[in-house]
Symmetry: C2
Subunit: 120 residues, 2 copies
């Protein structure tokens, strides 16, 4: 086995935090952007929590938000930046290496296939 | 799109922290256990850091360690418990859903395949 094969300290802490991972995965999958309310509901975050994490993601230029109106109702549209998409792809690639390569597939003493879903 | 499809707050915080994720992935892949020194080198952790994380993993009964001797040299052997393996498999299953299902595969504006390795 190679040295430091399992050193995952490089996992991007901005994206690794579960709440922000939720936000960026939702935005990555919706390239035309999402409203604040859509992100909040898709990620099951409170308004305050979502605002806090979005501020951090905006500071790092991973997402950008635009305030506008739909009729007379103010609406905030959020989307990922190109740099954010690239950064996220790098992070996901590292996760892929872990789940598809570093964790041996097949029989385990833990039992058979679990079939659990993150959202269950 | 379904509501709360991207709610990842349930990701097990004990296993999600990068240093502990390194440790349990290495131990999961080596079913007969590893020595303290092997884990330290595979995960690129300092002695103090590894001890601290192992204590936490032992408290939660995810790993167990046995102190012994090889000749006259003390050696600590660390292995995952059955409960730990099951808990880890659940966690990995959630990561799999994210990288294989929630993140759309194929063309992205971020560019083509990155081919990055976690350990690069």
């Amino acid at each position: 086995m190679s040295e430091s094969r399992y050193a995952y300290q490089g996992l991007d802490p901005l994206l690794h935090a579960p709440a922000r991972l939720s936000i960026v995965t939702a935005l990555y999958a919706h390239r035309s952007g999402l409203t604040f309310v859509e992100v909040r509901d898709l990620c099951e975050l409170s308004d305050g929590n979502l605002s806090r994490h979005l501020r951090k993601l905006e500071q790092e230029e991973v997402v950008r938000s635009t305030k506008g109106f739909v009729g007379r109702t103010p609406q905030t549209k959020i989307e990922m930046t190109v740099a954010g998409r690239i950064r996220f792809e790098r992070y996901v690639e590292q996760l892929r290496v872990i789940v598809e390569h570093d964790v041996p597939a097949g029989a385990t003493i833990g039992g058979g296939p679990l079939g659990l879903r993150a959202a269950d």
